[in-house]
C-alpha cells in the first residue's frame, strides 16, 4: 500500500484578539498533535461538531494553511514541496457551497479549464473538459452556461468536474452536500461514490452528518476540540462507539417513528 498523505504531530494554534487593553491574547488549539496516514484508495471520513477542527485539518492537508507544529508529507516528502504544482495536481478539493466556490463571471467550460491552465497540464483541454463534464453527468451543452443558470446540484457537479480535471489522486471534500436538498444530496453522494470507485480516487470527506460519512467512507475519525477522540472502520465506530462523545453524537440523531 502506498502512503499518499501523512501527518506527524500536526497542530494548529490560533491567537485570539485581545479582549481588553493590556490583556494577553488567548490561544485556541484548533488542531492538536494529529497523526494520520492516508493510503492510496482510502476513503476517510472526518466527523465532528462546529469548532472541532475538521476544517482546520482539511486546510492543512491541502496546504492552504501552515501548521504551528508538526508536518504534512505528500508521498514521503514534507510540504511545501519545491514544485507545489505537482502537489496541486494530485490533491484537489470540493467545497461546501458551489455558489461561492464557482466564479460567477466565468462560463462552466472556463471554470473547468482554469486548473488545467494554472497547473500547466498538457494535452487537449477542450477534450478533457468534455470528458469530466460527462463523467459528472453534465452534457457538453453546459459549457457555455454560467453558474447562476444552474441548480444547486448541477453547480456541485461542476465543482466536482473542476476538481477531477487535473486527474488528481486525492479528492478532499469539505461538507460537499450540506448546502443541498435531501434528494439532490443522494444524487451527489452516489456520483462521488461512483467516481471514487471507477477512478480509484483516495477520498477524504469532512462532514457533520454521520449518515453522509457512513455512505461513502470505509474509515472514520471523530474529532472533538482538535483531537481525534475515536477512529476506526466506519461500520464499527457507528455501531459500537467506544468514546462518550461519539455515543452522544449518534444518540442525538433524530429517530424515525417505529425505529
Amino acid at each position: 500500500m502506498t502512503t499518499i498523505l501523512e501527518t506527524a504531530g500536526l497542530s494548529r494554534t490560533f491567537r485570539l484578539p485581545r479582549t481588553g487593553l493590556g490583556s494577553s491574547r488567548a490561544e485556541r488549539h484548533a488542531l492538536v498533535d494529529m497523526n494520520l496516514t492516508i493510503n492510496a484508495g482510502d476513503r476517510l471520513g472526518v466527523v465532528g461538531e462546529s469548532g472541532s477542527g475538521k476544517t482546520t485539518l482539511m486546510k492543512l492537508l491541502l496546504a492552504l494553511d501552515t501548521p504551528t507544529a508538526g508536518s504534512v508529507a505528500f508521498r514521503g516528502e514534507r510540504l511545501p514541496l519545491a514544485d507545489m504544482a505537482r502537489f496541486r495536481r494530485a490533491v484537489q478539493v470540493v467545497f461546501q457551497d458551489p455558489r461561492s466556490s464557482l466564479n460567477p463571471r466565468m462560463s462552466i467550460a472556463d471554470i473547468v479549464r482554469e486548473p488545467l491552465e494554472c497547473l500547466g497540464i498538457d494535452g487537449n483541454h477542450d477534450e478533457r473538459i468534455d470528458d469530466v463534464l460527462e463523467a459528472v453527468g453534465l452534457g457538453a451543452a453546459m459549457r457555455t452556461r454560467y453558474p447562476h443558470e444552474l441548480s444547486g446540484g448541477q453547480r456541485q457537479r461542476v465543482a466536482i468536474a473542476r476538481a477531477l480535471a487535473p486527474r488528481p489522486e486525492v479528492l478532499i471534500a469539505d461538507e460537499p452536500v450540506s448546502a443541498l436538498d435531501v434528494l439532490v444530496r443522494d444524487e451527489i453522494l452516489d456520483l462521488l461514490q461512483g467516481l471514487t470507485t471507477s477512478l480509484g480516487l483516495t477520498l477524504i470527506m469532512v462532514s457533520h452528518d454521520l449518515s453522509v460519512i457512513a455512505r461513502l467512507c470505509d474509515t472514520v475519525i471523530v474529532m472533538q476540540d482538535g483531537v481525534a477522540v475515536e477512529r476506526g472502520r466506519t461500520a464499527d465506530v457507528f455501531s459500537r462507539p467506544s468514546h462518550p462523545f461519539t455515543m452522544n453524537l449518534i444518540a442525538a440523531v433524530p429517530r424515525l417513528p417505529g425505529s
Partner: protein
C-alpha cells in the same frame, strides 16, 4: 372553528405561482410540520401567514387566524398580531437578532410593544424567560450581545423572544438547521416541552424528515408550491402516497438504519 384556516392560498411573483392554491387547517394546540425542498413554497407559506411577504408578491385566497381574515388586514393590524398572538423563530439566530442590542432588551421589546410594559419590568420577565429556555446564569446572559453567545444560546434567545407574549401559535422555520446535532437535540426537546406546557399550536418548517417526525403530529409535504400529501406522521411513514414522500422516507430510513445496532445496544 380552527385556530388557523388557509384556503386556496396563492402567492405569485410576477406571473410565477410559487404557492399554488394550498388549503389546510390548524386546530388549537396541535402541531403541524411542513416539509419540502428549497423552492417548494414552505417558507413563503409561513411568511404569508405572518404577513411578511415582500411587496413584490401578490397574494390571494384566504388566511383566517382566530376567525379574522389576515389578508384584509393592514400592516399595522398585522404588526399587533406578530410577536403577540403569533411568535416566530427563524433559521439563523445570528441574523434574526439585533447585533447592537443586549439580548435582555430584545426579549423585553415585544412586551413593551404589545403590552406597554416598561423595559425595566420587561427585563425582569426576560430573566424568567431565560430560565424557562434553559439558559444558565440569566443575569449575565441578558446583559450579553448576540455575538457573545453560542449558536444554541442564540436560538434559545430567539425562542424566549417568540414566547415573551405567550403566543397561541408558534411558527418555527428551520429553527435548528444551523445548529450541531447535539445542540439540535436539546433545542428540539425544549421547544417540545414549552409548546406542550403552554398549550400553543406549532407550525414547524424543515427539510429534515426525522426532525419533523419528532416535533409534529401531522405533516404537509410540499412540492413546487403545492401540497402533495397531508397526513398524520405515523400514516405518512406507514403508507406514503406520493412519490416524493416515498423518496424522502426511503432516504431517511436508509440513514436511520445505520444506527440501529448502536441503539439496540443502548435502549
Amino acid at each position: 372553528m380552527s385556530l388557523l384556516e388557509v384556503r386556496d392560498l396563492v402567492v405569485m411573483f410576477g406571473d410565477k405561482r410559487v404557492v399554488d392554491g394550498i388549503s389546510f387547517d390548524l386546530e388549537a394546540g396541535s402541531r403541524l410540520g411542513i416539509i419540502g425542498e428549497s423552492g417548494s413554497g414552505k417558507t413563503l407559506t409561513t411568511l404569508a401567514i405572518m404577513g411578511l411577504l415582500p411587496d413584490t408578491a401578490t397574494v390571494s385566497g384566504s388566511i383566517r387566524f382566530e376567525g379574522q381574515e389576515l389578508l384584509e388586514r393592514t400592516d399595522a393590524q398585522l404588526s399587533s398580531l406578530r410577536g403577540n398572538r403569533m411568535g416566530m423563530v427563524f433559521q439563523e439566530p445570528l441574523t434574526s437578532l439585533n447585533p447592537l442590542m443586549r439580548v435582555g432588551k430584545q426579549i423585553a421589546m415585544p412586551l413593551k410593544i404589545h403590552r406597554g410594559m416598561p423595559i425595566k419590568e420587561g427585563l425582569a420577565v426576560a430573566l424568567q424567560l431565560c430560565e424557562t429556555v434553559g439558559l444558565p446564569d440569566p443575569e449575565r446572559i441578558i446583559r450579553s450581545y448576540p455575538h457573545q453567545l453560542s449558536g444554541g444560546q442564540r436560538q434559545r434567545i430567539g425562542l424566549a423572544i417568540a414566547l415573551a407574549c405567550d403566543p397561541v401559535l408558534l411558527i418555527a422555520d428551520e429553527p435548528t438547521t444551523a445548529l450541531d446535532v447535539t445542540v439540535q437535540k436539546e433545542v428540539l426537546k425544549l421547544m417540545n416541552d414549552l409548546v406542550a406546557s403552554r398549550g400553543s399550536s406549532l407550525i414547524f418548517v424543515s427539510h429534515d424528515l426525522p426532525v419533523i417526525a419528532t416535533m409534529t403530529e401531522s405533516v404537509l409535504v410540499m412540492n413546487t408550491g403545492a401540497i402533495v400529501e397531508h397526513a398524520k406522521v405515523g400514516e405518512l411513514f406507514a403508507n406514503p402516497r406520493h412519490d416524493y414522500s416515498k423518496k424522502l422516507i426511503a432516504t431517511a430510513q436508509h440513514a436511520d438504519a445505520l444506527f440501529t445496532t448502536f441503539r439496540a445496544g443502548t435502549s
